[in-house]
Symmetry: C2
Subunit: 215 residues, 2 copies
DNA sequence: GGACTAACCTAGTCTCCGTTAGGTTTACCG
DNA sequence: CGGTAAACCTAACGGAGACTAGGTTAGTCC
């Protein structure tokens, strides 16, 4: 009853690129907040200022959208390490610097990293994409941080499995602390960095110098 | 066309208790494999040898079923620590013993622990249940392992936040290694224990003795 | 200022899945 | 044996949400 077509919402018409960026931002939020399954195209569209079909003008499916975001944000995180870890300073300082930059990213991109870490979706395709991108990051970053940090020794001699396990410890600690920090945002960043360094560097250094735990 | 009612599948009729146990086992598997959302009542029922409505004779909803399993399996894991950690031996040995028992559980219950660790479902109720039960475990176990292991020092002096962070490192490392181990089952358990001990004990001990990382 | 492209919309379809209503059969107990 | 409780079934509902068909309007370019 009343006005037939459109109550005149005066939609702003954007370029495809600009709208696409809005959709990606909104989708990152929604995926981070609700996880893959509960993230609805409807909500993503609403937060982008459009209706659902518009999303499909830019992405062929929900999975496709998700996958693109995964790759985008993993690349950003990888970039952090590539930019802040290499250098001439002693490894201890470079590691601390990289970890600080990493926590800074976590602080400034409250959605991007949560979308990557908070979920292991049951959707086979999504899980596969997740894994693939994780393996790629590991392959790219492992040679960067191993060797110099002594992380190759934590899990036995430097065989492939040992390296992967050391990487896993690294990853788990940083990811775990980041998730905890999100729930405890009053903690200053430098304390997070100290904690990570105490767990990862001080301990590893001792192991690195040859000490092992023996049954 | 043909036989009207039932091609005679000869269903075995069980007691409510026995059927309930079958359903819980099957549900644990399915939740572990697919995560909460993709776990369908249909599949759970099929693996329990019944049809979907029977599940509702035992559990009021999918959420209810999931919640019961969460509590059951968290209790089992907590029991491990309560049984294997306390004692008269030096803390180093007791910690190693408990970690070994923990990995043994992981090895022998390939579904239960994955159901707990592999997921952070978007479903608000489920997430809330997850969190509640995690907080309860932490409250129960933290006083058990803190203090003796020196874990209170990794994250600064023994304030509440520091304790929680140390706990988080513990949890993250054990959980991360368990998930990695699941994908690399050829690694013997004692090597997993050594790795965990090298990461958690050797390093912590040094921090415990007063050493800290300083910017 | 007319025409054309493409950004955007309305209105639906279709499938999956949790859940329920209500009947049927098995086991057990007297 | 019968009667009864409860274990189990068939059949269907209802809602949610991914995705699509096809039209409408806003910018843009001669």
């Amino acid at each position: 009853m009343g006005t037939k077509k459109r109550a005149g919402p005066r939609r702003r018409r954007l370029t495809a690129e600009a709208r696409r960026e809005l959709i990606e931002r909104a989708a990152t939020e929604v995926f981070a907040e609700h996880g893959y399954h509960r993230a609805s195209i409807d909500e993503i569209a609403r937060r982008s200022g459009v209706t659902p079909p518009v999303v499909y003008d830019h992405f062929s499916s929900k999975k496709d959208l998700h996958k693109r975001l995964l790759e985008r944000h993993y690349a950003e995180l990888g970039e952090i390490w590539r930019r802040y870890f290499p250098g001439e300073d002693p490894p201890e300082q470079r590691l601390a610097g990289a970890i600080d930059a990493w926590f800074a990213y976590v602080q400034n991109h409250p959605y991007a990293w949560r979308m990557l870490f908070r979920e292991t979706s049951g959707e086979p395709d999504v899980q596969a994409a997740h894994r693939e991108v994780q393996v790629r990051s590991r392959a790219a970053l492992l040679p960067l941080v191993a060797g110099e940090t002594g992380s190759e020794n934590i899990a036995g001699s430097g065989d492939a499995a040992g390296l992967e396990m050391a990487w896993e410890v690294f990853r788990a600690v940083l990811q775990g602390l980041a998730l905890w920090w999100y729930e405890n945002q009053h903690i200053p960043r430098d304390r997070m960095v100290s904690t990570a360094m105490n767990a990862l560097w001080v301990g590893f250094e001792r192991v690195r110098s040859g000490e092992r735990w023996e049954a």
